[in-house]
Amino acid sequence: MNERREVLSTMFSTKDSQVMTNKGQDYYDALWQKCRARLDELKKLPIASSNSIDEVLSSEGYTRRDFMKWASATTAMLMLPASFTPLVAEAAEVMNRVPVIWLELQDCAGNSEALLRSDGPTIDELILDVISLEFHETIMAAAGHQAEKQLEEAMEHFHGKYLCFVEGAIPRAMNGQYGTIGPKGETFEEHLVRVSAGAAAVVAVGSCATYGGIPAAAPNPTGAVGVMDILNGKPIINIPACPANPANMVGVVIHYVLSGQVPELDSLLRPKFAFGYRIHDNCERRAHFDAGEFVEEWGDEGAKNNFCLYKMGCKGPMTFNNCSIVRYNEGVNWPIGVGRGCIGCSEPDFWDKYAYERPMADAKIKAPTGGVEKTVDEFGLGVLTATAVGIGIHAVASAVAGKKSDNGEA
């Protein structure tokens, strides 16, 4: 498993090592035309879900103006120029043409919570409502053989077109008997392989589906692994974090609808628009770090004055995620906002290495350069890379995720 990640890492770190936020006018003009054509083509397809975004938004009291504000924020999040805003809005409107099958494996249901609009109803979550959720084990009404039949029908009818969202790890020890599903007692691994076979792309949601997560914590009693450790020949997009941020799930779907492609990914197959920067880069307490003002002990004067939590073991400097910008629960707050350091929940092995309150020196995190300050400022540049994976609307790309490494699009 680790060897495979090494291979991926090498494959992804060949070319440029930065997030390109401006790729030039010609590039964006060409991309705009491509997205336009893609949307026109999608509009001709039959509607898979009966929910329309207009109805859903107005029933929750949102206006067209709110919606356009959301569209322009999402355009920025996807690192696209403002001229793409109307296209992003249109993409949200035709999102009900993209069928989604959602699998829940070895998990805590924490990411489905986002789908249940437990943090909403924000526009992000309402938009998740509009996706045509053809199958979700927890949310749907059917059970048993009836559910199994629904799943098979959805897989056949939308073959090669659906996005397969996966929540939870896959336990491999004891022949997979730590997690079985359905009337036939299929193991999670068999289930995942079967359902993902006909998917256009697989989206791993949360750190469990991405890396194995908490169940994979030492000694990994159930042999838990992530989706990318199992699937071959299938485009995979990872949206780690515990829990994953709904804004990033929507970003991935919108990007797919808009361009028909997987967004630009890093070596861990995470979309760069969300995981291209470190928590530390945009942290509200960053100025205190620069000024050398730290919390030295819980509850001290520094804690009362919202000083930097680096010395309390905050892993913000080594963690790639956008929660310092997007935050949680409708942007109300995030862990650092309540004086509690980042635990690096979007990074591999966070459960063993990064965990709570362990100072950096004891965390066994390999820093690329010596010295704390250098580590803090330079860590991770090496893993930032560019790639692009194309997937047709109807065709299934069969390359290993990320193998194609032309210059990427957004």
């Binding site: 070895q106 109803p121 059970a143 914590a217 509850g299 949680y328 707050n333 965990a355």
Partner: protein, 433 residues
Amino acid sequence: MIRKEIVERIEGEARVDYEIEEDKIAFAQISFPHFRGMERILEGAPAHDALMITPRICGICGHAHLMAAVRAIESAYAAAGSPIFITPKAHALREITLYLELVQNHIKWFYLTVIPALQPLCTETLPKTSGAFAPVALSNRILALFAGQAPHSAYAIPGGVTCDPSELEQNQALGMLEELEKLLVSDLLGTNIAAYMEIQNLEALTALSGDFSYIINEMEKNGLQGIGQSHDRFLVLGEHTLVSPAKITHTTLRMVDNDKVSEDDTNTFAKGGFTYGKNALYKGMFFETGPMARAMARLDPLIKNIHRRHKDALITRIAARVHETVLLITEIRRLLRSLDLEQESFRAPMPISRLSAEGVGIVEAPRGPLIHRVKLKSGIIERYDIITPTQWNLAHGTRENPGPAQRALMGANPHHSDIIFRSFDVCSVCTTH
């Protein structure tokens, strides 16, 4: 004739095999086919890792796990002769965030679990499930103000809490709570909180106009009020501002002794059985836990009135949980107002590396008592043991001595199986952990 019916994927990951005899449920085998091994993961980890790992056992009631973990470590400090005294402010903040998690669980369960399961049995169209979303989001937002995020926060630490709210957060929270209250008044209750609090019997409750009384009325109209009776034995183990530990048999209240709690793993795969779920027992007996148990322990007039007529039936179980939501909101407001912001958020205890002792942390989670037991050696976890509410409610017994949910199902019309089972609100990810 015995007909076996299988219902999997209830709440994701539980499975019930019903045995039907002469159109009645004769027995139900309840099993949990998933396992993660959380207790083993915690062995050998630094004690504070429990604050990060245990909330991630569950995406729905993870905050209760955080509170149980922090109480367990603090109790180990006390056992080691170095007790921790957290400030009233820190204590109140912990209670506030825990209660908010209870509130959002209760509302979600009522709208997203109970209503869809009742609909096929009712003649009228029931309220829309979307009634859950706005109040749930508001509860989570208030929680996040103090705890940073929902789910999976770890803001409570032995010695207090990491947040240090100012008047700004206090007022923001009170404002959002008022919004939440307004939603409940207009949709769920159909009357203002003060008037609701006056209600002491079923008649007065059914006379209201909100979703709550609508459901109660529909249950009565369709003859569902008496179904789902169980042992009529209840247990509360967590100590909180709203409730204290008690054991209730019918209506007799007794003190409890935590040492009498035991786990039984006879049905697990490890012992050649069919499930990963262990049974939780008190003095070797099955007890129902959760909001109905807490209402009985609190001697709540309204719930006692319903209990007098219908015992521990479906109607009492549903009413107790919705009713508790209102009490929680009132209590959260009282606690928020009483916060003395000048007090410390945190008092540093002795370094955890010097702590070698055993501790137990018990909280009342949405579905009942959640117990964490920890054994520490020089700040490292030697043993960690978790007992969750669903291990009580969905315990698997025998035909002669069935678990609470089994007992409620036995003898019932097979058409009622779904609502009876779901009224216990399975939390399967917690059960096997």
